[in-house]
């Protein structure tokens, strides 16, 4: 469970998040918002990368998060394979064999080709970057996923592919986007609108 209680975030004299509260149980919810409305800030507060000025974020015991950043945030100096397995290599004691198996399962799930693995991340296409970012986030099997504009800047085929992947993963969490069409494609029923620092449920 993820719970936000009266979270407020102010940059300078700009109130980006104004007293936001909500609880996330076991489903994927969508937050819709215009550019600059504070979607990224909200996700960063949930993931602990930013501290709220007032209020708090509560994660239940052993809750782990996977994040897909708006611009993918891949490690450019590493290959695709090194990027995806990095969290396992650095934070677990899995054997090479186990890591390899997990990697293969994920490639399979995301419909990614093995040919991609040896490529350096700095010359991937936008869609490939997003997919690698998703792969890297889910390899540790997090309880929740935070997707920041997973389809922005992609053509309609790639958008379709990525929404299909997200739907198939069935990992609960929060997806933020400025694009209502994406939410329709994902068939997410619980939707919120982030506007002027306020979060409102859309029916």
């Amino acid at each position: 469970m993820i719970k936000l209680i009266n979270v407020t975030k102010i940059f300078g004299n700009r109130v980006v998040l104004d007293n936001i509260s909500f609880t996330l149980e076991d489903k994927l919810i969508a937050i819709l918002g215009a550019t600059g409305s504070g979607k990224t800030v909200l996700l960063k507060i949930i993931s602990g990368l930013l501290k709220p000025d007032t209020g708090m974020v509560i994660l239940s015991d052993r809750t782990s998060l996977g994040c897909v950043f708006q611009h993918a945030a891949l490690f450019d100096s590493l290959t695709v394979e090194e990027n995806i397995v990095l969290p396992l290599l650095e934070t677990t004691d899995y054997s090479q064999q186990t890591i390899r198996t997990k990697l293969e399962q994920i490639l399979d799930k995301l419909n990614l080709s093995f040919e991609l693995l040896k490529r350096k991340c700095h010359n991937l296409s936008g869609g490939e970057r997003k997919l690698v970012a998703i792969a890297r986030a889910i390899i540790t099997e997090p309880c929740y996923m935070l997707y920041d504009e997973p389809t922005s800047g992609l053509d309609s085929d790639t958008t379709l592919h990525i929404t299909h992947v997200i739907k198939k993963l069935k990992i609960p969490g929060v997806l933020v986007t400025h694009d209502l069409k994406v939410i329709e494609l994902l068939e997410i029923s619980e939707r919120y609108l982030l506007n002027m620092g306020q979060l409102k449920k859309i029916d």
């Binding site: 960063k44 998060l65 950043f69 708006q70 611009h71 891949l74 969290p87 650095e90 934070t91 890297r136």
Partner: protein
Amino acid sequence: MNGAKIFYEIFNFIWFPFSVILASGKPKRTIDRLFDQLYEIGIESLPLIFVTSVFLGLVITIQTYYQISGMLPKYFLGLTVGRMVMIELAPVLSGLVITGRSVSAMAAEIGSMKITEQLDALRVMKIDPKYFLAQPRLLAVVIITPILNGVMLLVTLLIGAIYAQLFYHTDLSVFFYGLTHPFAPRIFWVSFIKSTIFGFWCGASGLYYGFKVEGGTKEVGKAVTNAIVTATVLILVLDFLVALIFF
């Protein structure tokens, strides 16, 4: 900036490299990355170290000979050149080479990673960026700087000795006699202690400003400049402090 803020900045800067050393993760992986960094920093700095050493050897020998010729016995050439190079020139110049070549690169690399949210991505994965990125780099500079100091010493003195032999009819053995008489091991190890200290604080400057970047590419440029300026000033200040303590 007011006084308290400056004090806070300085404290942060001084504490930074120690927090890097204390950062923890899987040790085996740090060692792998350390070797990558050793290779990278060592290889990228060597050519510049060679060029600097060759010209340093030539200039310092010419200038010293000009000062002492006709007044002092020839072995003073080896003595003076040797001491100047060991105590001052090699550690300071190898520190400056590392600063120009690697410390700047570190600030740029880490700074770019910061603005493209790669450091955030590490944090979310529960990997401490200080452990993952800063620790191997800091250790590598601390190890490489004295090695480059040693290379510089060797090349500079060798070039000096050869030049003296060819142009001042000072036999190699006379030059080396001067180098080693009276033999003062302290001078030798002060040289290496000094360059280790320089390596530590220069590396710290590069990493500190890289981690501090907020904003865009312009800030990355500023971080590189700040890292170079800070490292350069630190080399000179620390050089003075070491001189106070040891001589």
